[in-house]
């Protein structure tokens, strides 16, 4: 059982590191905006591709939605 004397401090140390990392994240403002990042993630990689615009066909030929 003496392994616990090693494991307990190690576990607590790891926990503390994670906690400190979290606190640093909060202090650097990573939790200030919880709304935008989930959206930004979806469009982050989308580059700017310029393509010529196609003129739409006259409305009479458009199918009903």
């Amino acid at each position: 059982m003496s392994v616990i004397y090693v494991l307990l401090p190690v576990a607590l140390l790891l926990g503390t590191i994670a906690l400190l990392a979290f606190i640093r994240a909060v202090r650097t403002g990573q939790f200030d905006d919880l709304d935008t990042p989930p959206w930004r993630m979806l469009t982050d990689d989308e580059g700017v591709e310029s393509q010529p615009r196609e003129e739409p066909t006259p409305p009479s030929q458009e199918a009903e939605l």
């Binding site: 994670a18 202090r27 959206w39 469009t43 409305p59």
Partner: protein, 861 residues
Amino acid sequence: MERGELPKRQPRKSELCDHCALPVPAGLVRPRGRQFCCAACEQVYAIIGELGMDHYYDLRDRFPGQKQPAVHRGRDYAEFGDKTFEELYVREVADDHHRTELYLEGVHCAACIWLVERIPSFCDGVIGARLDLGRSRLVIDWDPRCISLPAIACRLDSLGYPPHPFRGAQGEAAAQRERRDLWIRVAISGAVAGNVMMISFALYGGLFHGIDPTVHRVLRSAALLVSIPALVWGGGWFIRSALRALCNRRLHIDLPVSIGIIAGYAHGTWNVLRGEGDLYLDSVTMLIFLLLAGRLLERGQQRRAAEAAELLHTLAPSRATRIDRSPDGQEFESEVPVEALLPGARLRIRAGETIPADGVVCTGRSELDRSLLTGESRLVPIGQGDRVEAGCTNVSAALEVIVEQVGEESRIGKLLAAMEESARRRAPVVRLADRIAGVFVGAVLLAAVATAVIAARIDPTTAIDRTLALLIVTCPCALALATPLAVSAALGRAARRGILVRGGDVFERLRTPGIVWFDKTGTLTDGQLRRADWIGDSELELAVLAIESESHHPLARAFLPTFVGSIPRATSVGGLEGGGITGTVGGNEIVIGSPRAVLAATDATPDHPLARSAEAHAREGSTPVLVARNGVLSGLAIFIDGLRDDSLDTVRAWQNRGWQVGILSGDDPAVAQAIGARLGLDPERCLGGVSPEGKLAQIENDLAAGSKTVMIGDGVNDAAALAAATVGIAIGGGAEAALRAADAFVLDRRLAGVAELLAGAARVIVTIRSNLAFSLLYNAVGASLAIGGVLSPIVAAVLMPLSSLTVVTISWRARTFPEPAARGPVSSGPSTLPAHLARADHMSQTGHLSQAQTGEVRTCP
């Protein structure tokens, strides 16, 4: 059109605006080519194409959210380059690196994030752009040697996101500190609770399988040591606020929680030190964590509500036209930011502009739309020597104004200060759950000691087991979770229904009935003048339309929507002394205007039947407009500020729950009475002609008389009353300043939301009570079984999470704000629409409001 059964006639694809994907009004549909719902959308579409950012439209279609037409001001934003502006808002990171925060109108979806954050790719000199969608806030970095801030602002404007300086920076910094602080405390308490729980489980295991006494002691000491940060940072939060209240000789809701925490810690520490007895620290640290997390959840919702108040600043214009005299005596005009205005400055205010500061008219005659400040829907004529106030709109002609008070000194600033003061003074509602949770901890500890002592006398072998089972099975977690969970689930649901609520206490305050005051203009009525009646022939009507279509007067705009067909051309259109307009149509000279002005301009006497009818209508509170053809009175149009469709149902809903309903209006008493009569209200409770200060006084009187008082309004003139009331409910889409004061607000100008809020509040209270009742029952039964020795500690440990789970289930399943069976045709996206997007839409409406006020660009329908 995600929900098929709704609209009778679905717009064809070709009738949807190519920019915003909203339907194009029938009159604007073109035979071929691109379709746009308004000029702004068309301009923005063209610019996005020029920049090669068409990908925006792919994203828009891929992540469907709220749709809204583009906003486009077409201003030059010169004031953004002014020295005063730079000193106030621009931060110099380095010589070649400036940074500022802007508040953007019109931001509403994922594609907007993409487009705005791509600005550096097509705008040379911009280093970086980061958008906060929820708050519509943009942090932008640029190199001042390559590009100026006004140029960036113009670019943003051309993309459909008119920028405003972000003025709330100071308050925001404090709020941000507080928010981060709470996050950190929650994190520490959570980490501690988890670790202490883990150590406790080792100790529980030892109870059944035996444990080395040294290990036992080490583990207990470790648990004590680990739990200290939770006491300091987590518990400290409650203890400090309780102490602060005690210093002011008040009992705070955090007091029982603090006592519970301290008692739990003292108990646990004492037992660790003496080496025997139970460790209660796992329960206490978990309680701290859950209570704090509950507060964080509630804060998140509150913040969402509070930030909409940033819109307040977009009400007053950000710049003014100042007239200065150069050294050689020449007068010249310059555009300056309002921050640079000093008392004594002379301003030119053109027709359609909003007045930036309080002052006195020195030259010019015009009409003033003061509805923002007073709620009065009728225009007020003003001339030399009259006072004008910031936030009012100059309607008909240019004015020169000498500035007297600016910013916080102005009437609107003082009103906002009064409002904040009222909000601050209001005592917090004592939350039942918090009080119970604190007392609960103490009670359990007492019961545990009693059990240990008594059981030790009767049957020493089971004493420890019984006490332990009692401590494990009685879990304050369910109690701590009962309110925050029910409340935050309800807040989320309400937000999805377009009802933003500042905090859970609003629900508790709405529980029992009292007095409710409705504002009239913009709340019970929709604040838009509509033509209710027309007396006269149709040829004259066409002539009137022809002349009015040349005017930007609000009444003229009220004429137009009723029209179908083609309008003849009017010539020599001009103003009429005393309020009105003249013109020639088809050879007939037409005079349109207020009865007084038209009577003065023609030979007609006040005894003329049309004039008498006009006077009668004026007495009833509607707005009559007389028309004369070639000097003969021949037409009369009646305008009313129409009752909303849902007004009657809403008023009934409140009455049915036992509330006393009244009207508190800044408008004419006759109008208030007339509206009250239509709603079937007691005439004595329909007060008109009440100033903003008067509204506040009325609310304070009611409160002093001991009744619970709810105020429902939409304007700046209601703001102080909203803040002072037990619960202030603002109707969104009107003047957003009211939102800052309100405890709850309803988006989309939907009065029915107020009735939903009331019904929802009742259901939330039921949910909270069933949560509390369940967890108390669970604890009572569990405790009795444990004391009786029926429950072994291991069974207790298995049962413990069940109580929390049940509470979670009850809270999330409660249908506090049910989705309606069907939703409106166009404005509704899929029901998964996030709350912040709904809010963004709400901002767009403000954009439209101020646009309509300044008349810079024709608005979308």
